[in-house]
Symmetry: C2
Subunit: 255 residues, 2 copies
C-alpha cells in the first residue's frame, strides 16, 4: 500500500508521499511515487501514484515514451488543460489494467491503480485531480482543498480540521507530514522516506523538494513535538461533570 | 457503517460507539450498538456491534433468547471465560450469516458483522475481544490496549498515540470521544449520538453511562477545544530551515 496526498493552497500546491511499496510483507521496497514534469516553460505537472506497482510503472513508462516522441498525438506536453492531463493518465491506466486484469483476478489480486495529477498550464489556474482506477477523475476545490490516494483514512481527520486554501505553506507542509506520520504509525504498509514537493503558482517549476528519511532529526523532533501537542490538546479538553471531585483531589495533591 | 471501540485500562474498561445505521444514505436510523449484560452478580459483559444490521439484531436476539431460557446449553450466563463468550457470539454470528449469505451475495451485499465482547467474569481478569465476521476472535493486550470495529481507520492514530493501560479513565474517555468525533467529521456514515459506558474491574456492574447528542454543550466545547488544540500542536512543530526568514519577517510584523 501507499499513501500520497496533495494540497491546493491559494498560491501553492503541495505534493507529499511515502516511498514504501510491497508485494506482501516479506517483499518491501522503496520507490519514489512522484513523477515531476517541468521541462517546458509553460507548464508544471506532478503525478503521484498508488496501487499495483506494475500498473503505475507501466503508466509512467508510457507517459515518458509519449514525451520522448515528438509525433505523439497526446502527451503531458500537448494537453491544453490540466483536466486533459488527468484524463490522459486515466486512459493509459485503464488500458494497462485491462491487459492484466484477467490474469490478476485469477490469483485474487488486482491491477488497480490511482493517481494524483496536479500542476498548472500557463494561463489557467493551478489545480489537483484525483484519477480513479476506472480512469475518471475529480478535482480539488476551495471547500475540499486536498486529494488523497492509497491508504487515505488514517491521515484524513487532521487535513479535514486544518487545511484551507489560506493555510500558510509551511503549516500546510507540516500538516501533510503529520498526516503521513499518523498513517505510518497506524499502518505498517506506509513507510519512510517521505517526499514533499512544493509548487508556487505561475512559476512553472518546482519551488522546493524535501526528502525526509529515518535519519532526519527534523522528522524525529516533529514526531515528538506532535505527540506532546496531542496529549496537551487532550488534557485541555473540558472535564466530565463526575470528574470535578477527581480534579479537586488532583489539585489538592499538588499543594 | 458504524464505529465502535473499547479500551482496556488497568482498572477499567471503556466502551464507546456511535448510533448511526444505514441501508444507503437515504435510509439512516439511530440504533444503540451496545448490549449490556449485568443481571448476574458474578459477571459483566458488554457487546458492541458493527456490520449488517439484520445480522447483528438476529445475533442479539439469539443471545437474549438463550439468557431467557433456563435450559439453554450455552449463554452469557453459563460461560466460564470471557473467551467463551466471544466464541459463543462468533458462533451465533456465523450461523446467522450462513443463512443469508447467498441471497445477499446475489445483490452484491454482505451479511457480515463484527463484535466487541468485553467485560469480566468473577475470578478472571477484565478483558476485551474483537470477534471477526468469520467467528474467530482476538483479545486486547497491554501492548494493544484497545479494539475497534466498523469504520476504524480515521480514529486509530489518536488511540495509537495516547492510550496505554495507565491512561486515567477521564482522559481515556476523552480520547475515545475524539476518536469518534474525528471519524464522524471525516465519514458521513458515523453519527451522533455517541454512547460511552465505563466498567470498573471487580464490580460486575456498569459504573457510568453517558449519551452525548447534538444538543450536548460538552461535546460542542470538546470539538472546539480539540480543533484549537490541534492547530496549536501544529504551530508548535519545528520549522523547516527555509522558513527561518519567514519566521523573522512574521516576528518583525508583530512589533
Amino acid at each position: 500500500m501507499t499513501y500520497c496526498l496533495a494540497l491546493q493552497l491559494r498560491d501553492h500546491l503541495i505534493f507529499a508521499s511515502d516511498s514504501r511499496t510491497s508485494a506482501g510483507v516479506d517483499n518491501i521496497n522503496v520507490y519514489s511515487k512522484m513523477f515531476l514534469f517541468e521541462a517546458d516553460k509553460d507548464r508544471f505537472i506532478a503525478i503521484l501514484t498508488a496501487g499495483n506497482l506494475a500498473t503505475t510503472q507501466a503508466v509512467l513508462s508510457q507517459i515518458q515514451r509519449d514525451l520522448d516522441n515528438p509525433h505523439a498525438e497526446e502527451s503531458l506536453r500537448t494537453v491544453d488543460y490540466l483536466f486533459d492531463a488527468a484524463r490522459y493518465v486515466g486512459g493509459i491506466s485503464r488500458a494497462v489494467q485491462a491487459e492484466y486484469e484477467e490474469a490478476l483476478t485469477r490469483i485474487k489480486s488486482s491491477a488497480e491503480a490511482s493517481f494524483i495529477v496536479g500542476g498548472q498550464i500557463n494561463g489557467r489556474p493551478h489545480n489537483l485531480y484525483l484519477v480513479y482506477p476506472q480512469g475518471n477523475c475529480i478535482s480539488a476545490s476551495p471547500a475540499a482543498p486536498f486529494v488523497q490516494i492509497g491508504e487515505t483514512k488514517y491521515g484524513k481527520p487532521i487535513l479535514d480540521r486544518v487545511i484551507t486554501p489560506e493555510t500558510p505553506v509551511g503549516d500546510a507542509m507540516r500538516c501533510a507530514l503529520m498526516s503521513l506520520l499518523s498513517t505510518m504509525r497506524s499502518n505498517l504498509s506506509v513507510g519512510l522516506p517521505f517526499e514533499i514537493a512544493v509548487y508556487r503558482r505561475d512559476t512553472f517549476r518546482l519551488e522546493r523538494r524535501t526528502i525526509l528519511d529515518q535519519d532526519s532529526d527534523l522528522l524525529k523532533e516533529m514526531e515528538e513535538s506532535w505527540s506532546a501537542g496531542l496529549r496537551q490538546a487532550l488534557s485541555a479538553l473540558p472535564r466530565f461533570e463526575w470528574e470535578e471531585d477527581t480534579v479537586l483531589l488532583r489539585d489538592a495533591s499538588r499543594q
